[in-house]
């Protein structure tokens, strides 16, 4: 008989129920996501099961008043306490600290960060993983602006956005052009927040990042490049504001400009 299939050999080699021996942790910061959380968890669970990957989701809830934590507990009962891990916090403390908090409980070797409001679709995560494996990237980021992956990936579909009118697209392109000229980050989508990181890389970058809000996402990418980490890109489709209109005020534009300047002189 095949000696490699004997029980002794199998005991020594180990038996893996997944074809990929890595574990993927998703950190989901939530605030009033009672409606969205179960569905995003369902989408993630389905995607991980279809691709036979070991996974966990860490829900970092900032004391949502709408009962998000109760939904998270129901999901933990449905999918398993080891798969859906709820780590609540006392109040609305911000995105960066939510990731730091979640990182303390991550058991996987890769961490995926994404939004919980359906703008990021879990179906792209297998492509992120594929891209990461192909070139051993430290970070793989989703980009809304490219139609092909960088470096190329055979089954990548073009990226895009749904729900933006021409004005919003112009603002977005302008902002990206400004950031690309001033900061030269090496990625086509600097403000995107759908990324796959190696756990050690995320821990390192987060410990040196200082900004708050969505400038935080930009700073992480700029710092990653400055520290010499390798970044790959995969095009993603971004469905903005599933319910309602997408608005961008003048204050946000000003604070974005300030954020870019801050990164220019700070990194």
């Amino acid at each position: 008989m095949n000696p490699f299939a004997s029980s002794a050999a199998l005991d020594m080699q180990g038996q893996f129920s997944t074809q990929d021996t890595h574990m993927y942790s998703v950190i989901l910061p939530t605030y009033n996501e009672r409606k969205n959380l179960p569905i995003i968890v369902w989408l993630l669970a389905k995607m991980f099961a279809d691709n036979q990957l070991a996974w966990e989701i860490i829900v970092v809830d900032d004391a949502s008043p709408d009962g998000t934590q109760e939904i998270a507990r129901q999901l933990a009962t449905t999918y398993g306490e080891d798969k859906i891990i709820l780590k609540p916090r006392a109040g609305k403390l911000g995105l960066g600290t939510a990731y730091i908090h979640g990182l303390n409980f991550v058991r996987g070797d890769f961490v995926i960060i994404m939004d919980a409001d359906f703008s990021h679709h879990p179906k792209f995560i297998p492509q992120f993983i594929q891209q990461q494996k192909a070139h051993n990237f430290d970070i793989v980021t989703g980009t809304r602006y490219r139609s092909s992956a960088a470096p190329s990936l055979a089954n990548a579909k073009p990226g895009g956005v749904h729900g933006w009118d021409l004005k919003r697209k112009l603002v977005s392109r302008g902002a990206n052009f400004l950031a690309a000229t001033v900061l030269n980050p090496g990625v086509s989508d600097l403000t995107g927040s759908f990324r796959l990181y190696k756990r050690s890389v995320l821990q390192h970058i987060i410990s040196v990042t200082q900004s708050k809000g969505y400038v935080f996402q930009m700073e992480m990418m700029v710092r990653a490049k400055a520290l010499g980490y390798t970044v790959g890109e995969v095009p993603i489709t971004f469905v903005d504001r599933l319910y309602g209109e997408s608005k961008l005020g003048a204050d946000e534009i000003v604070s974005y400009g300030k954020g870019v300047w801050g990164l220019f002189v700070g990194v």
Partner: protein, 95 residues
């Protein structure tokens, strides 16, 4: 060194070189004096206009190639209703 400091140093050096050539303290190699005198005064404006036209082209091209993805939206809506049904059958409260 931050990016700002690097760029400040490089632009200071380049500006100094340009001014030295402009005031004829340094000679520009390989190019005749008369040609240099005609080109150097307009060089900064040329750089500015080139950058402006590049930016305009980049923005216009970006706008033209910005893809819409209605199929992603439809697919997502279908998945959401499928998810709601399945989750309700498994005992999770879905609004």
């Amino acid at each position: 060194m931050t990016r700002a400091q690097r760029i400040a140093v490089i632009s200071t050096i380049l500006t100094a070189l340009y001014l030295l050539a402009f005031f004829e303290i340094l000679q520009v190699p390989l190019v005749e004096g008369a040609v240099v005198q005609e080109i150097l005064p307009v060089l900064p404006w040329w750089l500015l206009v080139s950058f402006g036209s590049y930016s305009l082209w980049s923005l216009g091209w970006g706008l033209l190639t910005f893809r819409d993805c209605p199929e992603a939206y439809e697919e997502l809506l279908a998945e959401i209703s499928q998810a709601k049904n399945e989750l309700r059958s498994r005992g999770v409260t879905v609004d």
